[in-house]
Every structure is written in structure tokens, then in C-alpha cells.
């Protein structure tokens, strides 16, 4: 599957909300989309293109904005596919993928607690790796490595 094939399938469904498909090493391509199109894109990718396995969901902090990316695998085409969308840093929301791929559940919890991406309509957006009530987003670039004592005071209530 080539980027052009992907565009051919996805463009009619998403229209202008599809920002482009670019080549990405080791994968069928990288689909960049507007976050409003998330659910439509997920369904199209799973049902029309056959990417039925979600390997990973992650977030990247680019300081002025954040990026959410999804890595998918197709057992038919034996290929990976990357979906990626930009969200503003002051409103990092995107629709959850867990209604389309249930395995997104824990990945999104992790992206939420470490990078601060908020997944709308997530069934169970709780802390996964850090304790409940932990108020830091440690993989953001603005997070400073704390002196242990300072962190201890803030994490004491766990």
C-alpha cells in the first residue's frame, strides 16, 4: 500500500479534514488529519483499509503544540500505518480511539498522564503508571526534574 492508495480511499471520506498522506519509513505512510475527523478516520482506516490492530498511541510535546500519533498494523497487507494529528497546547483534546480499537484504552491513559493529552469520551481515563492524584505531566518539556524532597512533598498524599 502506497501513500497515494491511502489518499485515494481516505480523501473522499474526510475531504478537507485530511491534511495529507506522506511517506514514512517502514510504514505504508503517515496520515495527517484534523482532530475533528478522528472518529471518521479511525473507522475508515479499520473497515476500508483493514488496519485492525492498534499497536501504539502516543503523544509528543512540540512546545508550541502537541502531536498525537497512532501506529496501526494490517495483517492482510503486512504493513504499518501511522496516523498523526496536531492539537493546541492549551487545549490538547482529541476523540478517543478506544471505541474503534479497544486496545487504545491503556495507551490513551498513558498518553494522558504523561503528556497531558485529554481523550474525549474515554471510558476510564485514570492514572496508569503514576499514583492517583499525581499532578505532574512528566514527559512535557516544561517539566523540570525535581529535587526529590520537592516531589516528595507533592506526592505525599498518595
Amino acid at each position: 500500500m502506497q501513500p497515494d492508495d491511502l489518499t485515494g480511499v481516505l480523501a473522499p471520506k474526510l475531504g478537507v479534514r485530511l491534511k495529507g498522506v506522506e511517506p514514512f519509513p517502514g510504514t505504508a505512510g503517515r496520515v495527517r488529519f484534523e482532530r475533528e475527523a478522528a472518529l471518521d478516520l479511525f473507522r475508515a482506516v479499520r473497515d476500508d483499509l483493514g488496519f485492525r490492530h492498534l499497536s501504539m498511541v502516543g503523544g509528543i510535546d512540540w512546545v508550541d503544540h502537541r502531536e498525537v500519533f497512532y501506529v496501526l498494523w494490517s495483517d492482510d497487507a503486512k504493513q504499518y500505518l501511522v496516523l498523526s494529528t496536531d492539537v493546541p497546547a492549551d487545549d490538547p483534546r482529541v476523540e478517543t480511539a478506544s471505541s474503534v480499537w479497544p486496545s487504545a484504552n491503556w495507551h490513551e491513559r498513558e498518553a494522558w498522564e504523561l503528556v497531558g493529552i485529554v481523550f474525549d469520551h474515554h471510558p476510564d481515563l485514570r492514572h496508569l503508571l503514576t499514583p492517583d492524584g499525581y499532578e505532574f505531566r512528566p514527559l512535557l518539556r516544561s517539566f523540570k526534574l525535581h529535587e526529590p524532597e520537592e516531589l516528595e512533598v507533592k506526592a505525599r498524599h498518595v
Binding site: 503514576t130 526534574l145 526529590p148 516528595e152 498518595v158
Partner: protein, 208 residues
């Protein structure tokens, strides 16, 4: 130094059997808590039990409870230290190796138990994160008194290489009282056994 067990078990061959018990030489003990021990002849149970009761009673009356019973408890306790069988991070590999054939920690009476209710000592063998902190405290509180904690490795001692990380408790002594610290990343099994022997010294000197 001869171990107290060996002294207690050695029968006195020269003296003729008699129905009486006498106070003999003192057990070698570290610290001032020396216990006089009983030279026990071969007796039938129905003679031995009342005689032993009487001898023990008079010994306690003479020496005081703390001086007679406490060393026995300490002796029993320090020779049957049961650590909690759990592993937090890479140090747990060395912890496990210490119970293998090569180092054989069981020769010191150290047998890992899977339930905190059966444990005397919690060996914190790895990186403690804030996520696991309250579980660690729960396990500690489930252990019956008297109980001890050994911080094994740099992580449990002070956070180790992850001291400034966002998720790591900088030293398990922030959560529970620690008796013995073992340095190393990871400490070798010999170091862990050395830490256990240090703890045995602490227990030997326990007063109450």
C-alpha cells in the same frame, strides 16, 4: 566461638545421672546479656518437666524475666528470619540468587515466605515508585511484630540512579523505618547475606 545450640545439646558424659539440675557455665553471648544455662542430665519426661519448670522458675525469679527469656527469643528470632518473598526491580534477581544452591541463604534460617503474615523482615529489593508506595506500606503493616526492614540496593536506600525521576521514592525510609541498608547496584548475594547477618547482630542486642 561455639554456637549456643551446640552447648545446649552437648551431653555431660562424666557425671552420673541424677534427678537434680544445676546451674552451669555461662553461654557465650555478645553484649552483657549472658544466660546461665542448665546442665541437663538424661531424665525421664515425667521427672524432667517438673524439674525444668522449677529450675526455670527459680532462674527467672533470680535473674529477672528480661534477662532469661529475652535472649532465648532473640536467639530463636534471629535464626529464623523469614523475609517477604517479593521483588520490585533488578535487585530481586540477586535476592533470588541468594536462595539458590550457590549462596544458600537457608543455612542462616532465612526462608522467603509468600504471605506478609508469616514474615519477620521485609527486604526491599528494588526501585520503589510512588505507585507502589502504599502497597508497600500495606504489606509492612500486615507483618506481625516484631518486624524489620532491610533496604537492599541503592534504589531502596536513596533512589539510586533514579533519584530525581518523577516516579521514584528517594529512599524507602521515607515510607517505613529501615534497620539495615545494603549498598550496591545491585548488591551481590554475599552483600545481602552480610546485611542479614548485620540484622542478626541488631536482634541479638534487642532488649525488649
Amino acid at each position: 566461638m561455639t554456637a549456643p545450640t551446640a552447648q545446649l545439646a552437648r551431653p555431660k558424659e562424666s557425671a552420673p545421672p541424677s534427678g537434680s539440675l544445676e546451674l552451669g557455665t555461662e553461654l557465650p553471648m555478645v553484649g552483657e546479656a549472658a544466660v546461665p544455662f542448665l546442665e541437663i542430665e538424661t531424665l525421664r519426661a515425667k521427672e524432667f518437666i517438673p524439674a525444668a519448670k522449677e529450675a526455670l522458675g527459680s532462674l527467672i525469679a533470680e535473674q529477672g524475666h528480661a534477662k532469661v527469656i529475652r535472649p532465648v527469643f532473640n536467639w530463636a528470632g534471629r535464626n529464623s528470619l523469614f523475609p517477604l518473598h517479593w521483588g520490585l526491580a533488578c535487585c530481586a534477581i540477586e535476592f533470588a540468587a541468594a536462595f539458590g544452591a550457590r549462596w544458600d541463604a537457608e543455612r542462616f534460617g532465612v526462608v522467603p515466605r509468600s504471605s506478609p503474615r508469616q514474615c519477620d523482615v521485609m527486604i526491599v529489593n528494588g526501585t520503589v515508585t510512588w505507585k507502589v508506595a502504599h502497597k508497600l506500606i500495606t504489606l509492612y503493616e500486615q507483618m506481625p511484630e516484631p518486624k524489620w526492614v532491610i533496604a537492599m540496593g541503592n534504589c531502596a536506600t536513596g533512589g539510586g540512579p533514579f533519584r530525581t525521576a518523577y516516579s521514584v521514592v528517594p529512599g524507602v525510609d521515607k515510607l517505613v523505618p529501615v534497620d539495615v541498608y545494603i549498598a550496591g547496584c545491585p548488591p551481590r548475594p554475599e552483600a545481602m547475606l552480610d546485611g542479614i547477618l548485620e540484622l542478626e547482630k541488631l536482634i541479638r542486642e534487642r532488649k525488649e
